[in-house]
Symmetry: C2
Subunit: 198 residues, 2 copies
C-alpha cells in the first residue's frame, strides 16, 4: 500500500534529473504538489515544448528551434574563426567573456573511451566537414582543461592539422586575481612553461 501510484511515478520520473536521488526526488514531488502547482504545470508544458521544438543546429550542433541557429546566421559574427567547445553551457561562458566574435561548434561531450565515447559518438566527421568549408581560417579548441578535455583537443588538433587547418588552444596558466602562494603546482608549472616576453 503506502504511497499512491501517481505520486510514486512522479518521484521516479524526477530521478531523471542530474544529481537527484530518491530522497530529493521525494522532497521535490511533495514541494511541487504542496507549494508549486503552477510551477509544476509550467514545467510540464516547458518540457513538452522543448522536446518538440529544440534540436541540434545544422551548423554548430547547439540546441535551436530553427534549422540553423541565430548565432550561426548572424552577419555580426566572424565566420573565419570557429571555437570548439564541449557543451552548450561553455558557449554561454565564452560569450560572457566578450573576447570572441567568431562562430562555435558544440561537441556535446568529450572523448571518454571508458564510457564508450569515441570520435564516432561525438561525430568528429561533422566537425571536420564544418571546419573544412573554406571559410574557416582558424579552429580554436576550447575544450575543458581536464584530462579528457585535453585528450579531445589533442585528437582534434591532429585531425585538423592533417587537413591543413590552423588550430589553436586556450592559454593555460594562472587565473586572473590568483595569488601564487595558493596556486596549485601544475598551474604554476604550466604558467612557467608558457611564460610570455614582457
Amino acid at each position: 500500500m503506502a504511497m499512491p501510484s501517481a505520486l510514486d511515478e512522479l518521484v521516479a520520473a524526477l530521478r531523471c534529473l542530474p544529481g537527484v536521488g530518491p530522497k530529493s526526488a521525494q522532497r521535490m514531488a511533495y514541494h511541487l504538489l504542496q507549494h508549486e502547482r503552477r510551477g509544476a504545470e509550467r514545467l510540464a508544458a516547458a518540457l513538452t515544448r522543448a522536446l518538440q521544438t529544440l534540436h541540434p543546429c545544422a551548423r554548430c550542433n547547439n540546441f535551436t528551434e530553427a534549422e540553423i541557429c541565430e548565432r550561426c546566421l548572424s552577419p555580426q559574427r566572424d565566420p573565419t574563426q570557429l571555437c570548439v567547445v564541449e557543451m552548450p553551457a561553455d558557449v554561454n561562458v565564452v560569450e560572457q567573456s566578450q573576447a570572441y566574435r567568431g562562430l562555435y561548434y558544440v561537441l556535446m561531450g568529450r572523448l571518454s573511451p571508458l564510457d564508450g565515447v569515441g570520435p564516432r559518438e561525438l561525430a568528429f566527421d561533422r566537425l571536420l566537414a564544418r571546419a573544412s568549408d573554406g571559410v574557416v581560417k582558424e579552429v580554436i579548441l576550447a575544450t575543458n582543461l581536464t584530462h579528457e578535455g585535453e585528450v579531445t583537443a589533442h585528437y582534434l588538433a591532429e585531425m585538423l592539422h592533417a587537413r591543413g587547418i590552423k588550430v589553436s588552444r586556450l592559454a593555460r596558466g594562472l587565473p586572473l586575481g590568483s595569488e601564487i602562494e595558493y596556486a596549485d603546482a601544475a598551474s604554476v608549472a604550466q604558467a612557467l612553461l608558457d611564460r610570455r616576453d614582457y
Copy 2:
C-alpha cells in the same frame, strides 16, 4: 539573441524545483535534452497526472488519488491512535520504523509566525475535528524536534488537552548508536532529564 526561447522557458520552469538555482537549472535542461529525452517526456506526463489526480485525503490530509487514502481505510490499522506529523515524508519514516500501527494526520507544515504560518494556515480545526471523532484515544505528536516543531507540538497539546484528549510526544534523548563523547550538550541534558528507571 543567444539562447532560443523554448530553452529559456525550460530553464526558468526548472527553477520551481526546491534548491535549483540558475546554474543547475541550465545544467538540468541541457542534460534532459541531450541524454534524457525519454525521461523528460515521462516527467512531463507524471507532473500532469500528479496535478490532476492527487489531492489531500479527507481524513489524514496526506496526498491520495482517492477521497480517503488506503491507509486510513485499512482495517489493519489501529484507529485509536493518531500520529501527527509535519510532512508526508515523515509518515514514510515512521512507517519504516515498524513501531507504529495507528493512523496519521499530516499538518503539511509547522507553526512559523515569521513566515505567516499560524493555526489557521495549518487548519488546526480540521485536526481537532479528526481527533475528536470519539474513536481516537491518543494523539502522538511527532512533529520535528526543532524549535518550530516543538512550538507546534506544544500548541497542539494545549488544544487537545482542553478537549480532554490524551496527548503524547516522541521521546527526546540520545540517538541509538551514539557516543556520549560526541553528543551535543542539549541532547545529553534532555536524556538526563528524561532518564528512565532501569
